[in-house]
Amino acid sequence: MNIQFSPEKMIKVQEIIARYPEGKQKSALIPLLHLAQEEFGGWLDVPVMDYVAGILNIKPIEVYEVATFYTMFNMKPVGRYVLEVCQTGPCMLCGSDQIISHIKNKLGIKEGETTPDGLFTLKPAECLGACGYAPMMQLGKFFKEHLTIEKVDALLDELRAAAGN
């Protein structure tokens, strides 16, 4: 893969860096890692992190230590759809355990695994700030709330159809 932001993304990159005072461009690191993860296949491979280090003129190690700290950055490839089901207390009270085991059974994968067709990754998550609308999962940019087994089934079918499987 050619690791290079598109010209439009590059404008965005410059815009982000300009938010901080002179010499404080390292502050742009997390926003840039989000952009990079979106642009380069949903995870942060070492050459991608090195590329970001180059843009910000910082050492690669400064990028690795940050990327590995935050749970939203994937350090290995993930499926096309990452199902991040919240499992923390308030969601658990509303049945998140059943949602998680249903997904496991249905897709035949364990926590953290990806289906062989590369379509789904199951990634149990900790509280996502939707406790009153539990159980819930994060799917890409958005939340799916008030989940039921039926809704999960419908969602999986819908995603399969969208992917053309």
Binding site: R19, P21, K24, K26, S27, A28, L29, I30, P31, L33, H34, L56, I58, E62, E65, V66, F69, Y70, T71, M72, F73, Q87, T88, G89, P90, M92, L93, C94, A125, E126, C127, L128, G129, A130, C131, G132, Y133, A134, Q138, G140, K141, F142
Partner: protein, 431 residues
């Protein structure tokens, strides 16, 4: 009385025109004609306490902001909202972004922040778009940018996303993260008010705190201070969740009783599925859990109210805390051991790992709780658990250690029989 959510249901209030038509940006107009220090004075008079959980008086914090000559100062807004049970700031940002932006402009002016940052948890991935649109609309109408309304004050507001780390809600970890580093808390003091973002004087405030500045300026600090009871002034957003009939975000008056909040028609409407109330964690996962009897009435038998003083009446022996307003309700079918285990896993996952009592203690507590929950524990394990939590408290850099210890302590204190039940019924505990 509603001070924040009054207009939440007006069609289109998320956008500038409707917000302005309904009295929006009047507070900025008023504030820009005041001296910055007079705004700080109004906030002091209001008695507003930080809505992020610690309840520190906002006006006092603002007056502590160092002002060395020639050094820029910053306002950083804490929108990290990651405390289990808490989802009120999300509501404000999603549905009333202009109220939030208006509060940010006034606060930035009062503190002299020309570059203000909102640090929002990365998982709220769609909210930055809403905020950035509100900021752009405010700017297009002259409320942000250079020389705002001829006042000579310049201000820009930037939105920065985190990337999944509860600890980044702790203000010094947040600052580290905003500087592009791992979210490792710093030792306080120095407080951010003296050395914060890029070592510059910085005020960190919660989203709801900033929004509350708008009604304070509109009605005057003194009037705002008359609303509420004792040192709980104004109103509070509560995010209610768990086994309630009607969970959600509510703006409550501080003289509301806990019983009315849970069972009242206007509020949560009681328990879901006609179950009985068993227990509640009233202020976000870090505060002590209370059994129903101590939740509705204090140990002295007085009615318990939804405010700072009343919820903490009795200290940790028989009381809890208002905290972040994350109100988690458990019904009679829920297992306190299992719920506590889930919270322990959360804290183990979220410990930044800098201090050994927190790093090791959170993992150890989780493993013991798991053993107990799955019927492999002994009575000695319960005592060990008690001992571990006691040794974490107060021995760490930031309060995450305490936050992990307190729920465990309170669960054992009030529900020891349930832990013992698991020890005595291994075969009935889950496999």
């Amino acid at each position: 009385m509603k001070l924040l959510l009054e207009n939440a249901h007006i069609e289109g209030i998320r956008y500038y025109d409707a917000y302005r038509k309904n009295g929006g940006y009047r507070a900025v107009e008023k504030a820009l004609k005041m001296a910055p220090d007079d705004i700080v004075e109004e906030v002091k008079k209001s008695g507003l306490r930080g809505r992020g959980g610690a309840g520190f008086p906002t006006g006092m914090k603002w007056s502590f902001l160092a002002k060395p000559e020639g050094v820029p100062r910053h306002l950083v807004c804490n929108a990290d909202e990651s405390e289990p049970g808490t989802f009120k700031d999300r509501y404000l940002m999603e549905f009333l972004p202009h109220l939030f932006v208006e509060g940010l402009i006034i606060s930035s002016f009062a503190l002299g922040s020309n570059a203000t940052y909102i640090y929002i948890r990365g998982e709220y991935a769609w909210i930055p778009d809403i905020l950035e649109q509100a900021i752009a609309e405010a700017k297009a109408n002259g409320w942000l940018g250079k020389n705002i309304m001829g006042s000579g004050f310049d201000c820009e507001i930037y939105v920065q996303r985190g990337a999944g780390a509860y600890i980044c809600g702790e203000e010094t970890a947040l600052i580290e993260s905003l500087e592009g580093k791992r979210g490792n808390p710093r030792i306080k003091p120095p407080f951010p008010a003296v050395q914060g973002l890029w070592m510059r004087p910085t005020v960190v405030n919660n989203v709801e705190t900033i929004a509350a500045v708008v009604p304070i300026i509109n009605m005057g600090g003194e009037e705002y201070g008359k609303i509420g009871v004792g040192r709980s002034t104004g109103t509070k957003l509560i995010s209610a969740c768990g086994n309630l009939k009607r969970p959600g975000v509510y703006e409550i008056p501080f003289d509301l009783s806990v019983e009315e909040f849970i069972f009242g028609d206007e509020w949560c409407q009681g328990m879901a599925n006609g179950k009985r109330l068993k227990a509640c964690i009233p202020g976000g996962s870090s505060v002590p859990i209370l059994p129903a009897n101590l939740l509705l009435k204090t140990a002295k038998g007085e009615t318990r109210y939804m405010n700072y003083e009343s919820l903490s009446d009795g200290g940790f022996q028989t009381g809890s805390m208002l905290g972040s307003g994350g109100f988690i309700v458990l019904d009679e079918d829920q297992c306190v051991v299992r719920h506590t285990m889930s919270l322990a896993r959360f804290y183990k996952h979220e410990s930044c790992g800098q201090c050994s009592p927190c790093r090791e203690g959170t993992g150890w507590m989780y493993r013991i709780l798991k053993k107990l929950e799955y019927g492999q524990g002994t009575s000695a394990d319960i005592d060990l658990l008690w001992d571990i939590q006691r040794r974490i408290e107060g021995n760490t850099i930031c309060p995450l250690g305490d936050a992990a210890a307190w729920p465990v302590a309170a669960a054992i204190r009030h529900f020891r029989d349930e832990f013992e039940w698991h020890v005595q019924h291994p075969e009935e505990s889950q496999q």
